[in-house]
Symmetry: C2
Subunit: 508 residues, 2 copies
């Protein structure tokens, strides 16, 4: 199993208590009432013996300490009670495990780096945890086309380091890169910081090997940019959060690693300027634009307050909004001049009130630290209610304003995220967990998002947290077809139960 | 119904006869024996009356001339015998048509611009033709994010012209753009000339509205860059060639239309130089590279011989390979200088033996005319056996060499295509159709491709032509799951029968 590395922050005790209470609330809410599915068997000593037979001894884990950390997510918000953690070393072992579990009706939760934010990668009850972290081999890299094949348990940052030597890079980049695994990234259709440049995993993943609930190995591990022979079934597994099978191998297109990266940190005084800046960046920086992120003044305030060593690039005052624009190209002096011209024009046009370009990699890291440190700062601040919304860009910040008005001084509402992709991370911070605040937030936040044809999960997935909320973003007919496909592929429902789809669809 | 415009070439009589004989062969081959599915009803006067009731009079077509052109594909290679062409004007009409056809077990072939190359868009027997060409409205364009929503019958070129006014462009571009429709493009997962820059429709299509066989309207018409709420079912319909439903609306991400385009036409003396040039272009031109196409000496020879007004940019001699490199960026003088430097370096490094940059749009068009004219030149040359293969780039040209050796002087083997995507168009030209030549080509070409883990259809789809060849590129388990999904979504099998999946999977 992968270590959590230094990238992800462990919350302090105070916030643990707060988030743990939120968790109980999600379980006990009025709209969802998750009972253990009685059709699942309980694990017994024969089962353990079987797994000891087919797997190496040290990969059948019943040790309480190790189980304890596999049972809980990294935010310590969701906690299961699995009695068994399995660490298969190859596809054949995964296949044997699932075939057996299916025949015995033992429920299974697939696990990678366990860095998800919606409770998708930990058990709800006593599901068997199948962690693919030992399957971490790089299989091949086609040096002409940049197509990488690897096992699902490879850690994202390790893959990127490997590619760096070959002048390629991973098309996704996210805060959890030191811990998250590519199989989990694909299963959750991770987005991240470079989505605006390299696009979705649906565009970049070229092939998958997947083991289905009954142990069938689906070899869809093509390593071709184009393949129009029949239905492209790999897409079913991208973003299905382990509910349709376990991804064991991935083939992915990796872009050329270009030599020049520049980063600007800008201040805007209103949201419409941020929007116009985005439009101008898409046109004026066009081919070199590789990230367009934003944060609001509350987010900046929190980061400056809670994180040590973080400095405001514009120390004289707080601005209403901040934008990070990154460019990546092949010619440093030209790219830099281009960004400088863009800044000067934006300043003269009144779109930005201040702006600075990072002078070296250390300054660039310090700018990124502000954006990437928001999650950590929020967790240090107390209880946090996290929402990951996709909205039409022009409406994107309205929900932050409305929410702040709604909650008044009882909470601090922070809006930040991937503006270039229309993806808002809406985070509401309170000193302690508060029933009244929660009742003001939900279901309002979901209703508002649905009303504006947004998505209640842009990139985090539904997991356990939002399985019963799917109707806010998907039509009844679409959810019905999802359920039929789930039933077709996993008739006993053993794969990652209670997640993604609402329990009600399983009822007779 | 869309006119065919001036882009697609109608073959001359000689090639018609030749290709028609190939078509009979595909029908009568030993591996496939397509019989009309006896479970389908024959259309009767009650059916016609029903359609006249629910549709406008002039959209229920029985006129022989109009039926005749809807029954045959543009290459005049595949010909059906439908007695009825319907032209619904909106989603509701499509839904009523399908619901009725499903209840009556009337088979249906969805049709758009009818520009496909594998017989996917015309009937095999008496299927009802449902052409969505009247559904050609642009619904909306989000000017900040570049997200376009439109009906399925919009012609690709019209969409691109509309977007040009808003500084956006369609992320796909292909020879048939004056006739093909966006619904058909999505149904066949069209690739085209700018794939190397903008990637696959699986990455660019953000939402679809689809009508299923039973008339259910699946509203998946999101217009968000990110949406991780459940299984992303739209991907099932991208590239399924109308066998799972009819696409009625499309939401697509369109990139910013950048102001500067430059085009170079280069000569290489061996294939390994072409490969190395690709690698250098990806790294050196990186962010501005927007096309990397190649053709071999046989292709060039044929174009110069058969097409009027086409000139060799290097008139002194024929080279072994030619490469077109297009760049698209925001700064014309810089982009041009960048391309010039790239050319000089490539020349000095011995990768190219000659090279020229288009001086104006007319010269650029004349260069593109060489690459885009190959299909037309081939059809003028006599019989042509067309294959659209995806292969690892390093192996891509080996099949051309092997095929020429295999066929000797009896045929002219041409290799060209989208080198940047590993997509080879292998075309074999003979003066007349020849059984012996055909027996030398198939199944060898499919076996060779499978052996090298290629795809027997990179971008054209399987259609009727290759439905029984799917096993060369997909595993048994994968095809079985495709068949289960087909059965789930279209239990009576009325949607575009005989296409994509082999008939054998429907047998009891």
């Amino acid at each position: 199993m992968a270590s959590r590395g230094g990238v992800l922050h462990r919350p302090n005790k105070e916030s643990l208590i707060a988030t743990s209470r939120i968790h109980q609330r999600s379980f006990g809410s009025t709209t969802i009432n998750i009972q253990r599915n009685p059709s699942f068997s309980m694990i017994n000593s024969d089962d353990i013996n079987y797994f000891r037979d087919i797997l190496d001894d040290n990969t059948v884990i019943q040790d309480e300490d190790r189980l304890s950390s596999a049972n809980i997510d990294w935010m310590r918000k969701y906690k299961g009670s699995s009695k068994l953690l399995l660490l298969p070393k190859d596809t054949d072992e995964v296949s044997k495990i699932l075939r057996y579990c299916n025949s015995r009706r033992l429920a299974v939760v697939p696990q990678g780096g366990n860095t998800g934010l919606v409770g998708g990668s930990v058990p709800v009850y006593d599901e068997v945890i199948v962690n693919v972290g030992l399957m971490n081999k790089i299989i091949s890299l086609d040096k002409v086309s940049g197509i990488l094949k690897c096992e699902a348990g490879c850690i994202l940052q390790n893959l990127d380091s490997f590619l760096a030597n070959e002048c390629y890079l991973m098309p996704i980049d996210l805060g959890a890169k030191g811990s998250c695994q590519i199989g989990g990234n694909v299963s959750t259709n991770a987005g991240g910081l470079h989505f605006v440049r390299y696009g979705s995993l649906h565009g970049n993943v070229l092939g998958l090997e997947v083991v289905l609930a009954d142990g069938t190995v689906l070899d869809m591990l093509g390593s071709l940019r184009k393949d129009n022979t029949g239905y492209d079934l790999k897409h079913l597994f991208i973003g299905s959060e382990g509910t349709l099978g376990i991804i064991t191998k991935v083939s992915i297109l990796t872009p050329a690693r270009l030599s020049s990266t520049n980063l600007a940190f800008l201040a805007c005084e209103d949201y419409s300027s941020c929007q116009e800046l985005l439009l101008k960046a898409k046109r004026g920086l066009g081919e070199v634009l590789s990230a367009f992120e934003f944060l609001d003044t509350n987010s900046m305030d929190l980061v400056l307050d809670k994180l040590e060593g973080v400095r405001n690039p514009f120390p004289s005052s707080l601005h209403k909004f901040y934008v990070l624009i990154e460019t990546t190209g092949t010619d440093d002096s030209y790219d830099r001049a281009k960004l400088e011209t863009f800044l000067v024009n934006s300043m003269e046009g009144g779109l930005i009130s201040d702006g600075v370009i990072a002078q070296d990699i250390n300054q660039a890291s310090s700018f990124w630290r502000i954006r990437e440190g928001i999650t950590e700062a929020l967790m240090k601040a107390g209880a946090v209610y996290k929402y990951d919304l996709s909205l039409p860009v022009e409406k994107l910040y309205d929900i932050v304003v409305e929410m702040q008005l709604r909650l008044g001084s009882s909470a601090k509402v922070c809006g930040y995220g991937h503006l270039g992709d229309g993806n808002l991370h809406l985070n509401i911070s309170t000193p302690n967990y508060d029933d009244n605040v929660f009742a003001q937030i939900e279901p309002f936040v979901y209703e508002w998002t649905a009303e504006h044809r947004g998505s209640i999960s842009a990139e985090h997935g539904l997991g356990l947290m939002k399985a019963d909320k799917i109707h806010y973003s998907k039509s009844t007919e679409t959810v019905r077809l999802m359920a039929s496909i789930k039933k077709l592929v996993d008739p006993n429902g053993i794969m990652n139960p209670y997640k993604v789809l609402p329990q009600s669809i399983y009822s007779p």
